[in-house]
């Protein structure tokens, strides 16, 4: 399975600011995803990030709030813009890989606290 790293691992930010989260994979992957895990809740898909095309956002998530870049097959960034305390969550990236075509592997997550 792919090895995924994320930076930063955690951050505390003031409301109104923006934070860019990086996701690095040790092999080339076509499909990458960004998820959010709000406190005490499950994971929710934010968007699908494919190299060479615009990210595809799920209902309730918009590009102005969560811009995503995917410059190559091993790297992606998610920006959380104009943050509010409601954005306090763990943000995770995942990639498709493994022995089955639909297996996803997750990064360690970025724990964001907005004050």
């Amino acid at each position: 399975s792919a090895v995924i790293s994320q930076k930063p691992s955690r951050d505390i930010c003031q409301r109104g600011t923006s934070l860019t989260i990086q996701c690095q994979v040790d092999s080339q992957v076509t499909m990458m995803f960004w998820y959010r895990q709000q406190p005490g809740q499950s994971l929710t898909l934010i968007a699908t990030a494919n190299q060479g095309s615009e990210a595809t956002y799920e209902s309730g998530f918009v590009i102005d709030k969560f811009p995503i870049s995917r410059p190559n097959l091993t790297f992606s960034t998610l920006t959380v813009s104009n943050m509010s305390p409601e954005d306090s969550s763990i943000y995770l990236c995942s990639v498709v890989g493994g022995t089955g075509p639909y297996e996803q592997y997750f990064g360690p997550g970025t724990r964001l606290t907005v004050t």
């Binding site: 994971l43 898909l45 799920e58 995770l92 639909y102 997750f106």
Partner: protein, 113 residues
Amino acid sequence: AQSVSQHNHHVILSEAASLELGCNYSYGGTVNLFWYVQYPGQHLQLLLKYFSGDPLVKGIKGFEAEFIKSKFSFNLRKPSVQWSDTAEYFCAVNPINDYKLSFGAGTTVTVRA
């Protein structure tokens, strides 16, 4: 869109007890099914998966899950838990031709030594 329900929010067990975590999904078509585990301080890991074939699948660390299509269920089991099985367990599904995973709310399992 599909949805996933996990019946138990928090399960507390003693070592050597048997574990069964319920998972039901709602979706009209064929799905892929997964159980993920998140140990304290660690990232989400794939425990086991079902794509097709034998509905009883075996995963890592002695876990198994059974897909019952008629009940839209994919329950996770382990005959004898260990203290190291303390973790949060997530059931997830995606439609057969879609990569987008929908997760259940998760079940926190605490195993007492």
